[in-house]
């Protein structure tokens, strides 16, 4: 274990809610719930809404009953992904050792960059200032000698806080906390521990390891015992999530008409390919998912020979993936289109064709230009001229 507190756990404060409020500053300080569709769940809520008992993963219907006056807004996954990418970039500009845990939290190891940039508190403050400036959202940072304590520290100082736990202070900080603060203790383990009369981390620490092992199994028992003494050997494991772009559509009511479903697939393809081109990527793998009325879901994907960003070609692949499922008027609840294996356009050599087909790529370019100028959707395929069914969601990583 390291001597100095150089592991940072950074967690955005009410990330989805804060991000959604950037464009709507008038809602600040009000109870706002992210998640609005009758069939959705709450993705996040502002601290004001949380005070009313609303929490993530709660069905929207229940949240509405709990807080009829709260403001419910649609999630904008595209925005979240963009902000998350920028935030992770900020982290990486301080240290290459960044381990994202999700869109809104990450571990950073700054041991190696202290000479270069400054001590961990200074780094943490710089990151907090930059993110507040650039993204207009706040975050909380826990600093400790281990990942586990850093994570507890950031939860402890939320929102908009910073807490550093030095190696010598770990036990003083840790021991009064309830057992459920330990990593890996869910309701079930908590119950087992409480039957043993263990309520705080100090209780766990002062229980013989063999007793814990007997109650929880050898590895879990040993693990908890170590954590309770502030021992956590895990290093920060840097990685970057695989780039992908996807869009999903939950239908207002289940669809069973192939024409209608294909039209939605085209609309989604249109949306993801536009974003693909905006970011200057091409995709090599095209995937679709279909969720049925009973919530069972199937996914299919195809990797094509040449990476492409052409709406027409990608739709043709998505269409054949769908048609190869040979669904016969099965009720479909949601479809999604996913582009993976992204590469920078122009990065790979392009195999030319002997005969040029219709100039779909040029048509896409012209459409993108018009849409930039006159707003998204001002030029679209004729099949999509009718108004869409609602409750759309976007998602990208």
């Amino acid at each position: 274990m390291r001597d100095e507190a150089t592991i940072l756990h950074i967690d955005m404060d009410a990330f989805y809610a804060s991000a959604s409020l950037i464009a709507r500053p008038e809602l600040r300080g009000k109870p706002v719930v992210i998640g609005a569709g009758p069939r959705s769940v709450v993705l996040s809520a502002t601290y004001e809404a949380r005070a009313l008992g609303i929490h993530a993963a709660m069905p929207v219907g229940r949240a509405r009953r709990l807080a009829p006056h709260a403001i419910f807004i649609e999630p904008d996954h595209e925005l979240y992904a963009d902000i998350s990418a920028s935030v992770m970039e900020v982290f990486r500009s301080f240290t290459p050792l960044v381990e994202p845990l999700s869109l809104d939290e990450a571990f950073l190891d700054v041991a190696g960059v202290r000479r270069l940039i400054g001590d961990p508190i200074h780094i943490a403050e710089s990151i907090r200032t930059r993110i507040a400036d650039e993204q207009q959202i706040t975050c909380s940072v826990g600093i400790a000698t281990t990942k586990f304590v850093a994570k507890i520290a950031s939860q402890h100082c939320k929102p908009d806080g910073l807490l550093k736990i030095e190696g010598d202070d770990v036990l003083t900080f840790l021991h009064p906390l309830p057992v459920k603060a330990l990593w890996g203790v869910g309701p079930k383990t908590e119950e087992v521990l409480s039957r043993l009369g263990l309520r705080t981390i100090a209780d766990v620490a002062h229980t013989p390891k063999t007793t814990l092992e007997r109650a929880l199994g050898q590895s879990a028992g040993e693990h908890l015992h170590n954590l309770a003494w502030g021992r956590d050997e895990r290093e920060v494991y840097p990685w970057e999530p695989e780039k992908s772009i996807s869009a999903a559509e939950t239908f207002g009511e289940d669809l069973d008409d192939e024409e209608a479903i294909l039209r939605e697939l085209l609309r989604l393809t249109e949306r993801v390919t536009q974003r693909l081109r905006e970011r200057g990527f091409k995709a090599r793998t095209i995937g679709i998912s279909v969720r049925f009325a009973d919530f069972s879901t199937i996914s299919r994907s195809k990797t094509v020979r040449d990476a492409t960003s052409v709406t027409h070609d990608i739709f043709e692949t998505a269409r054949s993936l769908y048609q190869n499922l040979h669904l016969d008027r099965v009720r479909v609840r949601l479809v999604s289109v996913r582009l993976e294996n992204l590469e920078q356009a122009g990065e790979s050599a392009e195999q030319l064709l002997l005969t040029q087909g219709p100039k779909w790529a040029e048509s896409d370019q012209a459409r993108d230009q018009a849409n930039r100028r006159f707003g998204r959707g001002s030029v679209r395929p004729a099949r999509l001229l009718r108004r869409p069914t609602r409750d759309a969601q976007d998602d990208s990583k």
């Binding site: 020979r305 990476a307 054949s320 590469e343 990065e347 790979s348 050599a349 392009e350 195999q351 030319l352 064709l353 002997l354 005969t355």
Partner: protein
Amino acid sequence: MKITVERDALVDGLAWVSRSLSSRPIMPILLGISLEAAAGNLHLAAYDQEISGEAEVTAQVDAPGKAVVSGRLFTDVIRSLPHKPITFALEGSRLNITCGSSRFALPTMNAEDYPTLPILPAAAGEVDGELLSHAIAQVAVAAGRDDSLPVLTGVHVEIEGDKVTLAATDRYRLAVREFNWSSQKPNTSASALIRGRTLSEVAKSLSGNSKVTFALAPSGSHEHLVGFSTENRTTTTRMLDGTFPPYRHLLPNEASSVAIVEVSALMEAVRRVAVVVDKTSSLKLNFSDGALRLDAKSTDEAQATEEIAVDFEGDEISIAFNPTFLTDGLTAVGTPFVHIAFTASNKPAVLSGKASKDAAADDSYRYLLMPMRY
């Protein structure tokens, strides 16, 4: 039915027909091979509704008759037998097989259920088997493998009088082969599209024959069959639906530069340099007076370069290819030297064979290869 046949002849015949066995047939009877003995002959047949195969094997026929047995099982049994005469005797619904001291009894299927096999189309001619099988192999290499574009998985066969033209393209390359045959009718005009994979298999098994009769339904007829037959073997194949795209206008009439290269030297250089090429990068060829430089680079920056001597005339050119497509073409020309004609670095290069450095280029085979943009 009671007959005796030579083991090796039977194994050969079975190899020919078992290509046409269905693996997942619409009718269960198509899992079977049909055996029919009459007048000194054992006739074998298999059929899967796309292709049919028939073979004749000389036999000593003691009692003529018919039987249908599971193709897979029968083939496995016969292959396992020693090199001795095999006797078949149909007793009730069982086929007894005796060879040396081995005995097998196989269940049979109802021979009355076996469908009538398609018959060879009328418009026919003859061609040397070796020539035909080489020509098919040269062209089939350019056929597409993507079943979502079925027309491009085919080899297009066109017959005008004495001339046969085979063509295939996957849109990245186009292979065209012309050869003469002796047509039974002087003014034959016909065309067909045949699945490349099927045709390649037929080609492989035809290569040992000096004379192959080749027949296809005349244009405009409702038959959709192509047939090949040799002395004692027949196979028919259903044509693919759809129209093969017009391709003759793609063949360039002139060239701005021409390279003459020894195939083995170029092939080795390409194979070496292409080691660093990954899926998304290309192999760059730079032709200048007397020399060809090959450059390859992968996206993660490994590099390779090699230079070989060539005869080159015309404007200097840099052009990039998919290395696999290039080696496919170099293999397909089948001659010690290759004649490569260029017009521009974004236009197809044309490969054709040359028996020696100074021989004239052989235009009967052309492999058009579209470059990559790098």
